[in-house]
């Protein structure tokens, strides 16, 4: 009975256009924010931070980025891993070259650099689309990984070819390096995820987002009604890569601490993020978070179940996990091609009518 818009009167356009038009939704959103910012940082421990929450937030940012490009802009990209690598190596170079500047600025700059690289690899999208473009973005993936592997300047000529995050602080709290506390890691990722989700939400319902969606639905038609495909496609690539770059920077500096490009940012990363947005829902901000949560939690739960409870060998569990992930993807595509976000929306529709559906 609570979940109704009845009695919730709007007196201005501003109120009418808000993200959560139903009061209970709004409260729920604020409640989640209060828990995320006010409670979790004080109770979080190392296991939860490193196994679940930090990767969830980082992948949510990456999924947001890819969703902007694929879900809203309609340009399929398989180069996410490569762009994350750009973010990671950019932040590494910046951190080591300018140790006195705050890491927050470095991460943002890394996002900017990735945006530029993304635009560069987005240029072919003006000529080709669909599968052809998806394969073209593979070029970005393989070329970038190769580049970071082969040019020693990128990893400061270190003997191992790895990059290691030096210790940096934000407001006196260490956020990178081995001494970082779980809550500090969590907080910096949460702040980035919160702000970026807010930005993404407002971009996608504004002029830019509508242009992207027009291009996605049919680019020739969009061009005829006056959407410039050049700016629309390239801006989608740039903003998407900005998000992905920040995710890559956070993944390397806060979460991993040390990274080797082929291992941390290989083609599997690209597919992982792609699955997140398929399972979560293409063209949905909530879907990005839901998909990221699903894909981060699933392996952890399966591992706990198969290895922990049933005592199976780890490698067997890993293979079963592959099978389950594959099955789930096919299952989702058959049952609900629009992902978890659509399921959630359907649930909400049902809830609004409940208990009198007719």
């Amino acid at each position: 009975m609570l979940y109704r818009e009845a009695g919730d009167f709007k007196t201005s356009y501003r109120e009418d256009g808000q993200t959560f038009p139903i009061r209970l939704d709004r409260w729920g959103y604020y409640a989640i924010l209060v828990v995320a910012f006010g409670i979790i940082p004080f109770v979080i421990n190392d296991y939860w931070a490193s196994a679940v929450l930090v990767p969830f937030l980082i992948y949510a940012i990456a999924a947001l980025g890819l969703n902007i490009l694929t879900g809203y802009g309609g340009q399929v990209s398989l180069g996410t891993g490569g762009f994350m690598a750009v973010g990671a190596y950019a932040v590494y170079k910046l951190m080591t070259a300018f140790p006195d500047v705050s890491i927050v600025i470095h991460i943002l700059l890394a996002g900017g650099i990735t945006a530029f690289v993304g635009m560069l690899f987005g240029l072919p999208s003006l000529r080709i689309k669909g599968f052809y473009l998806a394969v073209a973005t593979l070029a970005a993936q393989f070329f970038l990984v190769w580049l970071f592997n082969k040019v020693p300047w990128f990893y400061n000529y270190s003997a191992s070819g790895q990059i290691n995050a030096p210790e940096r602080t934000v407001l006196g709290w260490a956020v990178t390096g081995p001494a970082t506390s779980a809550s500090a890691k969590y907080m910096i990722c949460l702040c980035f995820a919160f702000v970026l989700a807010w930005v993404a939400r407002n971009l996608t319902r504004g002029t830019l987002g509508r242009k992207w969606m027009a291009i996605r639905d049919m680019d020739i038609a969009a061009e005829i009604i006056g959407v410039n495909p050049l700016t629309a496609k390239l801006s989608a690539f740039a903003i998407s890569s900005f998000f992905v770059g920040i995710a890559g920077a956070l993944l390397f500096s806060v979460y991993l601490g040390a990274a080797e490009v082929g291992e941390a940012f290989g083609i599997n990363k690209s597919f992982l993020v792609l699955f997140m947005i398929i399972i979560g829902g293409l063209g949905s901000i909530f879907g990005s978070f839901a998909g990221a949560a699903f894909m981060v939690l699933l392996p952890v739960m399966l591992k706990n179940l198969l290895v922990g409870t049933m005592g199976w060998p780890t490698d067997l569990a890993a293979h079963i996990e592959l099978m389950i992930v594959g099955t789930l993807i096919v299952f989702f595509l058959i049952v609900e091609p629009h992902g978890l976000a659509r399921l959630w929306a359907l649930t909400k529709e049902k809830l609004r009518l409940w208990p009198f559906p007719h």
Partner: protein, 327 residues
């Protein structure tokens, strides 16, 4: 002069590699033409076929690892070995069964969905098959030997030695692969041109609805096409598996087939072959000539970048049908 002869050798080896790429690309083109599905799982099909072949040949018990983990037993193999020819036949049967299951469980439910959804479904399928292959037959690297000759071809070495004073190193396996691939292509072309089923397949490729309306069963055609693709995957799996062992990286050659397809055009069988040859030769020559200057290992990305640059000038590929769009 020496450089030139080396380059010629590299060129020849590139051609042979190109044939291997073309073999994988062929499977893609077949399915894409007949069902409009861009089958990402083609490489994993090859891996799965090769794993199954080795497993059957060596008499492994399927799911041995899983059974042992659940029941606490220690079974490994039936204790017999199956002759290569019979094993290939059995594997082909497994691939047909797989094609049937894929049609029944996946494709049938996705009729009428957008191509990109179908593409992603095949990615899911690829994951599933990869896991299934490992669970069924174990994840360790296996040697595949169905009796194909391997090692340096002595006759070519001696002949070229007489001509140029330098013996070319060419693997006999590559020569065999080339011959088999050529046979396979000829057989496929003959099949699609001269048999009833082949004509039906081309009709489906042309227009699903029109094909349905003249009484062609879409489902049968799809099962058939996936079976053929499975068979091509088996051949590719045998070749690559003999060459470099049956292991996960086998499925990555599928990714290599993508630029081949882009270059040749998604819908053209000759395109797949020419594209494969161009990519094979191109990446070997590039690695040979430019590679040392920029740090080597350029084979990882050269094909993609070449395809990328090429596409900017000719989006439909070399032999693809011209893309016409209407609002």
């Amino acid at each position: 002069m020496d450089q030139l002869i080396y380059a010629a050798e590299v060129f020849l080896n590139g051609l042979m590699t190109g044939v291997m790429y073309a073999l994988v690309a062929l499977g893609f083109v077949l399915i894409f033409k007949a069902s409009g599905v861009f089958n990402y799982a083609q490489g994993v099909l090859a891996l799965f076929a090769a794993l199954t072949l080795v497993g059957i040949q060596q008499g492994q018990v399927p799911f041995a690892h899983l059974i042992n983990a659940v029941l606490g037993t220690h079974i490994e193999s039936f204790g017999w070995t199956v002759p290569a020819f019979l094993a290939v036949l059995l594997t082909a049967l497994v691939m047909i069964l797989l094609a049937f299951l894929i049609e029944k469980l996946v494709l049938q439910h996705l009729v009428g969905q957008e191509p990109i959804i179908l593409f992603m479904a095949t990615i899911g399928l690829a994951y599933f098959l990869e896991g299934l292959g490992d669970v069924m037959w174990g994840a360790d690297i296996k040697r595949l030997d169905v009796g194909l000759p391997q090692g340096i071809s002595d006759s070519i070495e001696t002949v070229t030695d007489q001509w140029f004073g330098y013996g070319f190193f060419i693997d006999r396996l590559d020569i065999w692969a080339t011959a088999i691939a050529a046979l396979l292509v000829a057989a496929l072309v003959a099949f699609s041109q001269f048999t009833k089923q082949g004509r039906a397949m081309r009709a489906v490729a042309d227009d699903h609805q029109a094909a349905l309306s003249v009484g062609i069963s879409l489902r049968f055609i799809w099962v058939m096409v996936w079976s053929i693709a499975g068979f091509v995957a088996l051949v590719a799996g045998i070749m690559w598996g003999t060459k470099s062992g049956v292991q996960f990286s086998l499925s990555l050659i599928a990714l290599k087939a993508l630029p081949v397809l882009m270059l040749g055009g998604f819908t053209s069988i000759p395109g797949a072959i020419v594209g494969g040859l161009i990519i094979g030769v191109g990446e070997k020559l590039f690695e040979f000539l430019i590679g040392p200057m920029i740090g080597g290992a350029t084979e990882n990305w050269f094909a993609y970048v070449l395809a990328l640059i090429f596409l900017v000038f000719r989006p439909q590929g070399l032999f693809g049908e011209r893309i016409i769009e209407r609002v």
